[in-house]
């Protein structure tokens, strides 16, 4: 627990330094088997990726919502990632391994807005991994549900 705390502190420090260095604060750190990694990405960089929308329900909200973001596989391709799985970490230190095959099989996105409103850090923002749950019944399973990382802050390609 303590180690985790220290690690998150280190990330925050990094983020802070980036923020100081660039115009906009970085929102996502990508590390592991990528070209020129690790790398810090800010919103403008993320918005440069092709943007798509997904209409789906979630297990923690009522009704369906429209999420806007970019495809996970576009990001990994953009960064020339080589691994077969991705370790995603949230601001609250929630960590989960996601097989890279998910991103090939399904249109998994990293959303930055819900119903046209930017996701807030005090809610589930700024980034939320969204699966197209309503389009594929096999995704309506708790083994997929835990891969929906909200307050996503870091990705490590393994």
């Amino acid at each position: 627990m303590r180690r985790l705390a220290i690690k998150s502190l280190a990330i925050l420090a990094l983020w802070a330094s980036q923020a100081v260095a660039g115009d906009a604060p970085a929102v996502l750190r990508v590390s592991g088997q990528i070209a020129n990694g690790p790398i810090l990405l800010d919103f403008s960089q993320l918005r440069d990726l092709p943007q798509i929308g997904i209409e789906t329900s979630t297990v923690v909200t009522d009704g369906t919502h429209r999420f806007t973001g970019f495809l996970m596989r576009d990001l990994l391709e953009h960064l020339d990632a080589q691994g077969d799985r991705v370790m995603a970490t949230g601001l609250n230190d929630y960590v989960v391994d996601i097989p890279a095959s998910d991103f090939m099989q399904f249109d998994v996105i990293i959303a930055h807005s819900m119903d046209g409103k930017a996701l807030d850090r005090a809610d589930k923002g700024p980034l939320w991994i969204i699966y197209p749950r309503d389009d594929h019944t096999e995704l309506q399973d708790i083994r997929y549900d835990y891969r929906w990382v909200w307050q996503l802050s870091e990705i490590e390609v393994k």
Partner: protein
């Protein structure tokens, strides 16, 4: 009754089993679907983790404020921790999480805490330790609250889980019971299926045996049997039919009957088959069946019956029986009867003839004295006249004349003798001593003899004798009686003839008799007398002034009748004609 019960049970049991089978299967399927649905675990049922994370966020915020008091962290760090806690509240106040919090009764507390969180002053850029302490105190109850919430959540979730497991266990038990039921009904169905199969095989065997037996019966029947369907096509043709009709089953089956043999196209047979196809049984006796030209036919009895299935006529069956022997016997019997009848007619006629003759004879003898005086007078007169002439001539008579007169006298006497004999014969006949003496006798010869004698006795009357060239004049009679009858008739005619007229006699015949007509142009018989001329001792008005006893015609008729003949007076046509009828010797076949 037992059989009915058995059959009913055999039918009802599988139906009930199938019904139960379906119900149980549906029931267990529904239950399984329910279990399958229940087995989905929703994230909302992961509330313990949510509470834990919330507690963790609260503790780390408090921890961060402590560190801030010590100057170890800056305001940005506090802000991050505060945002993470706020995000927990956002989560707990949304959707399924919100409902769960309500369930465990912490909704109000959560709302108060949320309000506290919202009312916090915005964090200043320069975060002082005092401010940090102030924040820590304000948030002091948060971790404990989430610990308590986690506690309640765990208990509620375990209760829920226990309930769900119990429900699932109950559903599984019901499914197991249903499956046992399905197995039992399956076993019953299998059992009834095996039973039904066995029964069906048994019935098939019996049916086959019955069919074979029926086939054997039909093929070994002596009667010809054929069947037609409702369209009139032959469907059955047994060997007896083949031998009767000379057509094999292969030639007959599948074809129209009238094409198989013309016999079936003759009106009565065709009608009988048509009747049977309309539902009526028909029987025909002694139908002639010609199989080959110039051969005697078979006579067959035919019975045509309709074949019905569930009351509907589906065809006809024809039984044909060779009745030739019976037909021959019947024909023979008819022939015998006809011969017998003919015989009876013949005998009756003979008896009638005999009766007539007997009556005539009786009559004759009743009038014997009169007859004697009448009959004997003519020959005696002839003999007497011949002898008187001889006496008158005396010595002047030459030998030739003597001989001629003597012969004339002798002939007359001979005729007299014959008459006596015949009369005696008749007397014997009357007494039953002899039958009528009936022999072949040529009536032309008898007439010649009588005519010659009459010419001699009555030279002043012209007597003409005729007969047709082709006449068959041989009659069956007593020649003496025939001679006597003709003698009587001719002398009668001569007696009543006017002088210098002629009397003619003509022999002719019809299909069964020889006839002799004695025709005179003499004084006509009075109309009133015609009915009485054959009565003994009757003398008509025209006999006044002539000699006679009135028995000549009576005797003639009596004698003729004694021989199966007749003497009659033909209707008046200007002449007086008496006719002698005698049966021809050669019979009626001319």
């Amino acid at each position: 009754m037992r059989l009915f019960g058995g059959a009913g049970l055999r039918l009802i049991l599988p139906l009930v089993a199938i019904l139960v089978f379906v119900i149980l299967l549906t029931f267990s399927l529904l239950r399984m679907v329910e279990v399958e649905t229940d087995m989905r675990v929703d994230a909302e049922q992961n509330m313990l983790w949510v509470m834990h994370q919330s507690e963790s966020a609260a503790r780390r915020l408090v921890e961060a404020t402590m560190q801030a008091e010590l100057g170890e962290v800056d305001a940005g760090q506090i802000a991050l921790r505060l945002d993470l806690l706020r995000s927990r509240f956002a989560l707990l106040r949304d959707g399924p999480q919100h409902r769960f919090v309500e369930q465990i009764g912490l909704q109000q507390q959560l709302s108060q805490m949320h309000t506290t969180l919202q009312q916090l002053d915005p964090l200043p850029k320069d975060f002082t330790p005092a401010q940090a302490r102030q924040l820590r105190l304000e948030l002091a109850t948060f971790p404990a609250f989430f610990a308590q919430a986690a506690n309640k959540t765990m208990i509620r979730e375990w209760d829920n889980l226990g309930n769900r497991l119990e429900t699932s266990r109950n559903q599984l038990r019901q499914i197991i019971a249903s499956l046992i039921g399905i197995m039992v009904t399956g076993a019953i169905l299998t059992f009834t299926l095996v039973l039904a199969l066995r029964l069906s095989r048994q019935r098939n065997r019996m049916l086959r045996r019955e069919r074979d037996f029926s086939g054997l019966l039909i093929s070994s029947s002596g009667e010809g049997i054929l069947a037609v369907d409702d369209a009139g096509d032959c469907t059955l043709w047994n060997p007896a039919m083949s031998s009767m009709m000379g057509q094999s089953p292969e030639q007959a089956v599948g074809r129209k009957l009238r094409e198989v043999a013309g016999f079936f196209d003759i009106v009565p047979v065709r009608n009988a088959v048509a009747e049977a196809l309309r539902g009526t049984t028909a029987t025909l006796l002694f139908q002639p069946l010609f199989r080959k030209a110039h051969k005697p036919p078979l006579y067959v009895d035919i019975k045509v019956s309709p074949m019905r299935d569930d009351g509907r006529v589906i065809g006809a069956i024809v039984f044909m029986h060779d009745a030739s022997d019976r037909y021959a016997a019947k024909e023979k019997e008819a022939e015998n009867r006809a011969r017998l009848e003919h015989l009876v007619v013949e005998r009756t006629r003979e008896l009638d003839d005999a009766l007539t003759r007997e009556r005539s004879a009786a009559n004759l003898y009743r009038n014997f004295a009169g007859m004697i005086s009448h009959q004997f007078r003519t020959p005696l007169a002839v003999a007497d006249s011949a002898l008187q002439r001889l006496i008158r001539r005396g010595p002047r008579a030459n030998p030739d004349e003597i001989t001629e007169r003597a012969i004339g006298a002798r002939n007359a006497i001979a005729g007299l003798t014959r008459m006596v004999e015949s009369t005696l014969d008749a007397a014997r006949l009357q007494a039953g001593q002899v039958g009528a003496r009936r022999v072949p006798c040529n009536l032309v010869e008898v007439l010649d003899m009588v005519g010659t004698r009459q010419r001699a006795a009555s030279p002043d009357i012209n007597i003409e004798l005729h007969h047709a060239d082709t006449v068959d004049a041989v009659a069956l009679c007593d020649p003496a009686h025939a001679e006597q009858v003709l003698e009587n008739l001719l002398s009668n005619a001569v007696k009543y003839a006017h002088p210098n007229t002629s009397v003619s006699a003509r022999v002719h015949d019809d299909d069964r008799n020889v006839l002799c007509d004695i025709i005179s142009a003499g004084s006509a018989i009075d109309k009133a007398d015609r009915d009485h001329v054959f009565e003994p001792n009757f003398r008509g008005l025209n006999s006044v002034g002539t000699q006679g006893t009135g028995v000549g015609l009576f005797i003639a008729r009596s004698l003729a009748r004694m021989q199966g003949g007749e003497v009659s007076l033909l209707p008046d046509d200007g002449t007086t004609t008496f006719r002698l009828t005698l049966p021809r010797f050669r019979g009626a076949t001319k």
